[in-house]
């Protein structure tokens, strides 16, 4: 997928100025948050489970090469073919090759963020192969001209029922329906036909299990099961970091993933798929391919950013992010939005291509608190900010201002004087009204709110007076 992360500022302005998007976003606000909070309470020991999950993910990352080799050997022993891809282009090339080898004309896909990273749909189309997205949300995006997703769990969270009703009537040439159940039924009928006729299914993978060489798929709609049961060929595309050691470890993570994502105690379907169909079996694919993808992930190993590779893609961080809630997911410009995207996108694509993203956070640490694998997202964001500054990627005014501030802050008496002057100046600007409506130095900031006026004394002055006593 082409990245638009470098024009983040423009994306934000557009998102904020779009009244339909703003209405849809405020409607969605809070739903996932409430459900998650309830589901977490049901867990007897959330913190201990969370710590165990972190430990599992760290244990794998510490010896990722060995775990990958174990996975590969066990997957092969059951008849799967294991392929490796350095980047998105290689993923696309491999999938097209597999499709051609098996005479595939149509591919049904269940949600895979990695296939978005790779721009797989475009590659399939270019090779004359029809891709069909089967997750309802992804399908809606596909028939809307391959619109990019705005959330990793709920890809059309930014769209209203009205927009979807129009889209279905236009695309399916059916009378316009306004009930969500009727739209879902219509999609079921249209997609059922595709499930039955496609020769190949492409999925992502929530986890790869080293012990058994299996892939675990978690879905609610059942499209993941369809895609891996009906077509002759199944291709699972996953990042190299998705490994867990054992089925027990999978069970631990499954206590956290659905709860953190949608607030469910378990998703409707958890499928653990191993190897190819036995000849006596009446259904299931005859060929199974795994594509293990790097696409920038190895760069994170051994660095300060290694904890980011623990991510299990639950989406909790974005559901709890005030910035995400306000600008929506598409503004982030690439596959991954919200706090995890603001860390991952610059790391996978290069900081120079997305150095605005780490600033799209208030560092309130809601994301850090909810993350089921304890990724210190605010810390990683701060690291990236520092790096962007060091590599001189930020605008010169910002760098100059920071340098000036640092210079003054290191000189206490100068700092005291400067802050006294500033406080007086601001109080004069406010003219006793308690708030300043236009700040010349930051007009954007005061566009939607007032800057609270200081009361005329600095903290240090007050502190000194307090100590002296009344």
């Amino acid at each position: 997928m082409e990245s638009r992360a470098h024009r983040f500022r423009r994306n934000i302005a557009e998102a904020l100025a779009n009244p339909v998007l703003q209405a849809n976003l405020s409607k969605a606000k809070g739903k996932f948050v409430e459900k998650r909070a309830q589901a977490i309470q049901e867990l007897d020991d959330f913190e201990a489970t969370r710590e165990a999950a972190r430990e599992i993910r760290d244990r794998v990352l510490a010896n990722l090469d060995l775990w990958l080799e174990t996975f590969e050997a066990n997957a092969r022993a059951r008849g799967a073919t294991v392929l490796w891809a350095k980047d998105g282009n290689e993923v696309s090339r491999l999938v097209v090759e597999i499709a051609k080898r098996h005479g595939v004309k149509k591919v049904v896909k269940s949600k895979s963020m990695l296939s978005e990273e790779a721009g797989l749909n475009q590659a399939l189309l270019a090779a004359g192969i029809e891709p069909v997205e089967t997750d309802l949300g992804e399908y809606i995006l596909q028939i809307n001209g391959y619109e990019p997703p705005s959330h990793i769990i709920a890809p059309v969270v930014h769209k209203s029922l009205d927009e979807i009703a129009d889209l279905f009537a236009r695309t399916h040439r059916t009378p316009r329906k306004t009930e969500i159940a009727a739209l879902t039924r219509e999609a079921r009928q249209v997609l059922r036909e595709h499930f039955l006729t496609a020769e190949m299914g492409v999925t992502g993978g929530n986890f790869l299990i080293a012990e058994t060489g299996s892939v675990a798929l978690v879905t609610n709609e059942g499209n993941g099961r369809m895609v891996t049961t009906l077509p002759r060929v199944h291709v699972a595309i996953t990042g190299i970091e998705k490994i867990v050691p054992t089925l027990e470890d999978l069970s631990t993570l499954m206590r956290l993933l659905p709860r953190s994502a949608t607030g469910q105690s378990i998703s409707n379907y958890v499928s653990v798929l191993t190897g190819t169909k036995n000849p006596a079996e009446l259904d299931g694919p005859e060929h199974l391919y795994f594509i293990l993808v790097d696409n920038g992930r190895t760069r994170l190993l051994g660095s300060d950013y290694q904890p980011m590779l623990r991510c299990i893609r639950c989406g909790a961080c974005m559901n709890h992010c005030p910035v995400y809630q306000t600008i929506g997911g598409q503004a982030y410009g690439w596959v991954y939005p919200g706090p995890m995207g603001s860390v991952l996108t610059p790391l996978l694509l290069g900081l120079e291509k997305a150095h605005d993203l780490p600033y799209a956070a208030t560092l309130c640490n809601q994301c850090g608190v909810v993350c089921p694998v304890k990724i210190p997202l605010p810390e990683l964001l701060r690291n990236l900010r520092e790096e962007a500054d060091k590599r001189r990627l930020r605008p010169w005014r910002e760098r100059l201002a920071l340098r000036a501030w640092a210079w003054i802050a290191l000189r206490p008496s100068l700092y005291a004087l400067a802050s006294r002057l500033l406080v007086r100046y601001l109080a004069w600007l406010a003219e006793g009204r308690g708030g300043i409506s236009v700040l010349a130095a930051a007009p954007g900031w005061t566009m939607g709110r007032n800057f609270p006026a200081p009361e005329g004394e600095t903290f240090r002055t007050r502190y000194r007076m307090r100590k002296r006593g009344p």
């Binding site: 060995l66 059942g222 069970s251």
Partner: protein, 219 residues
């Protein structure tokens, strides 16, 4: 080759001293042997308690539950259910259930993989999980995966003796009884659903819209 390049890059980045490689390999083998469990939820210690927990959780996922005395009466329970729903007395079943007296109950069954036109699919289960109210279905020539997937209505026979506490217990049972994992293990927790449009839950996305559980008390 991408594989060698990726693995070499991982090793370079991990900067693991040569001596610790052996220790790492040993730790890996041990983890695979030990299969250590994470923190376990508090669940009822007895079979009765697990059964109630299973039923309560299954109902939360919008499965309907009915208790029947024995597996022999299952075809009659199925017939009652189909009649009550106004469905034809016809179903696709797992070949493993072909021995039951469907004919006696007047239900026409086909023991095969499911097809698009099938309205009702009947399966048993490998086991059921009390913690989450889930069925564990294992694929095999006798238990094709499509039967629980394509038809809009899925009926599952759940022997009470096959209810285990957790997913971990289910894996343990599978290792003991099956040796290796079957091609497809599916944990099914209620009818398929989607919340993609305005976060409103609709049942019956791509899989069944109804899941009816027949809990067999004596089995």
């Amino acid at each position: 080759m991408s594989k060698e390049q990726i693995l070499a890059e991982i090793r370079r980045r991990l900067r693991r001293p040569q001596e610790s490689l052996q220790a790492a390999q040993a730790a890996l083998e041990e983890a695979l042997q030990q299969k250590v469990r994470g923190p376990m939820p508090a669940l009822p210690p007895d079979a009765q308690g697990l059964r109630e927990r299973f039923l309560a959780q299954a109902e939360r996922h919008a499965s309907c539950c009915e208790r029947i005395a024995s597996i022999e009466v299952a075809p009659w329970a199925v017939r009652r259910f189909l009649d009550a729903r106004g469905l034809p007395r016809r179903a696709v079943i797992w070949p493993s259930l072909a021995e039951l007296d469907w004919q006696g109950a007047g239900v026409e069954v086909a023991a095969r993989a499911a097809q698009d036109a099938d309205l009702v699919g009947i399966t048993a289960c490998f086991c059921a999980i009390a913690e989450t109210g889930s069925l564990m279905l294992c694929s095999s020539p006798q238990t094709p995966a499509t039967v629980s997937l394509l038809p809009p209505t899925h009926i599952a026979l759940v022997p009470a003796s096959r209810i285990v506490a957790t997913m971990e217990d289910a894996w343990q049972l599978a290792r003991a009884e099956l040796g290796m994992l079957p091609r497809a293990v599916n944990f099914v927790s209620g009818p398929s659903r989607t919340g993609d449009i305005e976060q409103t839950i609709v049942l019956g996305a791509h899989g069944p819209a109804h899941v009816h559980l027949l809990l067999i008390e004596s089995a």
